[in-house]
């Protein structure tokens, strides 16, 4: 075994020992297992939701609407990953790992570590890597337990769930790189943790803004499409009605007579407002464009925490699964246009589908590549500080 491998193994084993010595690691592990335990208690049958031996009849949640494996997969992604691993467990992981660099720098360990035949950059990067051990262990245990639950309870074995491990790890590494920079600057566990949570909150706000803009944009686009369809139909109807009206009044117009707008307005008084609304919606789509570009640029240079987790949906859910989920529910899936006012009532399902498509069209290379780029910059800053500092 080479010296490099020996050092890396020793640091990984040490990281595990450090984590195992902390209560928070075991508390998080216990909570993770309780989460999976709760997950195992919930099920679905032909009449509704089941909790242990009890059945709660629900129209939208039964095996007639959604298959058992898809139900479990949905719970795993939305609750297990979406809430537990990306929020609660991540906060606990940040708390657990926030002291790694500050304690290395201030705790009297650094002299001994730097006096070993290992370069500062390698020491720094290996230490950073060991900081990810916490999350790797937690996510692995969670995924294994979840696969077992889905397998035994849902009757479907889903190894694709293991894609969660690298994705959640990547997500955490973005935050951990930010915390490393703050740890290097402040040398304080509390300060680096709080500042990281603050940055995470800012990222969350940027993401929320992006979501709102995408939803607005897609909603307006649906409105424009629907209005254009409606307008085309109304326009043609008005032309035909105008010809019919004129014929009744003795003016023999040919079938292909192209009525003017004013002529059409005489038979359909709502047509002008329909046109105005269409133009107005088109203007609104245009006015959103610079904001969308701004947010897209901001997201390009920032780590995309939510979209990284969102990648799980792409890999763990098939198109059929997504369609099934989209179609769940009743007639809310249809967008309607008010004939008189031209007001478009965009169906939430359609809006969600269109928005999801926008996010799915953002390439994995963009989501992960630029986020890893950000992480690399963070590590470059922190690593340079570590490599150049006197201790």
């Amino acid at each position: 075994m080479s010296t490099m491998l020996r050092q890396t193994t020793a640091m990984l084993v040490d990281a595990y020992r450090e984590l195992a010595a902390g209560k928070l690691f075991w508390v998080t592990m216990l909570l993770s297992l309780l989460c999976v335990g709760a997950f195992a208690m919930v099920g679905i049958n032909e009449t509704g939701l089941t909790v242990l031996w009890y059945t709660i009849p629900i129209d939208v949640f039964n095996t007639g609407v959604i298959s058992e494996p898809l139900f479990y997969k949905m719970i795993f992604l939305n609750l297990g990953i979406g809430i537990w691993l990306t929020w609660v467990a991540t906060v606990l992981a940040l708390v657990s790992t926030s002291g790694i660099f500050p304690s290395l720098l201030t705790g009297g360990q650094i002299e001994t570590m730097l006096s070993k035949p290992i370069s500062r950059w390698r020491l720094f990067l290996t230490k950073f890597g060991t900081g990810l051990v916490f999350v790797a262990l937690q996510v692995t245990v969670f995924c294994v337990a979840s696969v077992l639950v889905i397998g035994f309870r849902g009757g479907s074995w889903m190894p694709e769930i293991f894609i969660s491990i690298p994705i959640v790890l990547a997500f955490f590494s973005f935050l951990f790189s930010i915390m490393t920079v703050f740890g290097m600057i402040t040398r304080s566990t509390i300060a680096s943790l709080l500042l990281t949570i603050l940055v995470w909150f800012v990222l969350f706000l940027v993401n929320i803004t992006d979501n709102i803009l995408v939803q607005q944009h897609e909603g307006l686009k649906i409105q424009v499409t629907k209005l254009e369809e409606r307008l085309e139909l109304a326009d043609e109807n008005a032309r035909v009605m105008y010809i019919a009206t004129q014929r009744r009044e003795g003016n023999d117009l040919p079938d292909d007579y192209p009525a003017t707008d004013d002529e059409k307005y005489t038979v359909n008084v709502f047509l002008p407002s329909l046109r105005d609304r269409l133009e107005n919606r088109k203007d609104m789509v245009e006015s959103l464009a610079p904001w969308r570009r701004g947010i897209y640029f901001a997201k390009t240079v920032l780590p995309k925490t939510s979209e990284t987790i969102g990648l799980l949906g792409r890999y763990a859910m098939s198109k059929e699964d997504l369609d099934t989920l989209m179609e769940m529910g009743d007639g809310r899936g249809k967008t309607t246009v008010n004939e008189e006012t031209g007001e478009v009532n965009v169906a939430p399902q359609e809006l969600s589908k269109a928005s999801a498509e926008v996010f799915n069209n953002r390439s994995v290379a963009w989501v992960l590549g630029t986020s890893f780029g950000f992480e690399a910059v963070m590590l470059l800053i922190a690593g340079t500080m570590f490599a150049r500092r006197d201790f």
Binding site: Q109, S115, P117, I118
Partner: protein, 351 residues
């Protein structure tokens, strides 16, 4: 292979802070440590001892440094595989046991697992910590941690061992044990570099010493070399108010007093008489003690006769060799004021 384990020329270090004047910690240190010897580095607080050790161990980047460690330039990382180091204010992880600490740092130095296991047991035995090897460090006393620290510094079978304040926080029994460990390391042919302000400890184990004052080496060599020409005779008479006057009266004809600064009343109080014998040797009378700066017994004989003739009672006559503490105090004392130099390494403060 060079005979020198450490060979330094003109090592300097300025600590820089944004918008502040650089603070010099080392101002051109020249130092040579031979292979197989125990070398003691001493100096007052702020003299730059730890900074120098940290530069050797790549913990601090020097402003200027020419020299080598085990034949390689200072800063050459692979060379550190053959160096053991015990930092001054170390803090090994409390969640590890003594054996795990040694194993971890052994692995970090690249020692194979089997060798680590074998050597860890031997080293824990050496530092007297075998019975505590499986207990967590958080339950150790400071002295115990220090022992484990020394053991970890030896896990890689080093050619050179740097110990920064190895007896810090250790009780007298522990100090004796550590001294024995150092002697054993030396017997194994390794070079030991000790940084300490415990002068008696250093004097007991060191072959050569360097005294660092205000960022420069004030003196360097074996204790014999450093005390050469500083052997003296001390004559002590029974304590009384007139003891000092009695000793001054007993001085040979032609002895002359050196002028003491008038405004230095403290020094005047401490030293009743400071001057030269007719033959040129220094002479000093402080209370009931007379000191002649020579190891020639002939010079003291007439003084003894006169003291006895005056009715004085001589309580002791000793041929004294300066201790390491004397050398140290000389190095850190301003010869004109008799005051010790202030800590730090500011320009102009060195000797």
């Amino acid at each position: 292979m060079s005979d020198l384990a450490i060979d330094l020329t003109g090592v300097s270090k300025n600590y820089t802070r944004r918008f502040k004047k650089p603070t010099p910690a080392l101002r051109g240190v020249d130092m040579r440590v031979h292979r197989g010897e125990v070398f003691g580095l001493l100096g007052p607080n702020g003299a730059g001892k730890s900074t120098l050790v940290k530069i050797l161990m790549t913990v601090i980047r020097p402003t200027q440094c020419k020299g080598s460690i085990l034949g390689q330039r200072v800063g050459h990382k692979p060379t550190l595989a053959k160096v053991g180091y015990l930092p001054e204010h170390h803090s090994f992880p409390g969640y590890l046991t003594g054996a795990q600490v040694i194993d971890f740092f052994g692995a970090m130095t690249g020692v194979p697992r089997r060798e680590r296991r074998q050597r860890a047991g031997e080293l824990l035995e050496l530092v007297g910590m075998s019975e505590w090897s499986k207990r967590k460090l958080r339950s150790y006393s400071k002295g115990m941690r220090q022992r484990v620290g020394i053991a970890q510094a030896l896990i890689n079978d080093p050619d050179l061992v740097l110990l920064d304040e190895p007896t810090d926080g250790v009780d007298p029994v522990g100090r004796r044990d550590i001294r024995k460990v150092i002697e054993r390391i030396k017997d194994e042919g390794r070079t030991v570099f000790i940084n300490s302000h415990l002068l008696t400890e250093l004097e007991a184990v060191s072959d050569r010493v360097a005294i660092l004052v205000k960022g420069v080496v004030a003196q360097q060599g074996t204790i014999d070399e450093l005390t050469q020409g500083q052997l003296r005779y001390e004559l002590v008479v029974g304590a009384s108010d007139s003891a000092g006057e009695l000793l001054q009266r007993a001085l040979p004809e032609g002895s002359r007093q050196l002028a003491l600064p008038e405004d230095e009343s403290q020094l005047a109080n401490r030293i009743g008489f400071k001057g030269l014998l007719p033959t040129g040797e220094s002479i000093e009378v402080a209370r009931n003690t007379l000191t002649i700066g020579s190891d020639d017994p002939k010079l003291i004989q007439p003084i003894i006769d006169r003291v006895r003739a005056e009715g004085g009672v001589i309580t002791s006559v000793r041929n004294v060799r300066p201790s390491l503490e004397d050398l140290f105090m000389q190095a850190v004392t301003d010869p004109t004021t008799g005051e010790t130099l202030k800590p730090g390494a500011e320009e102009g403060g060195g000797r």
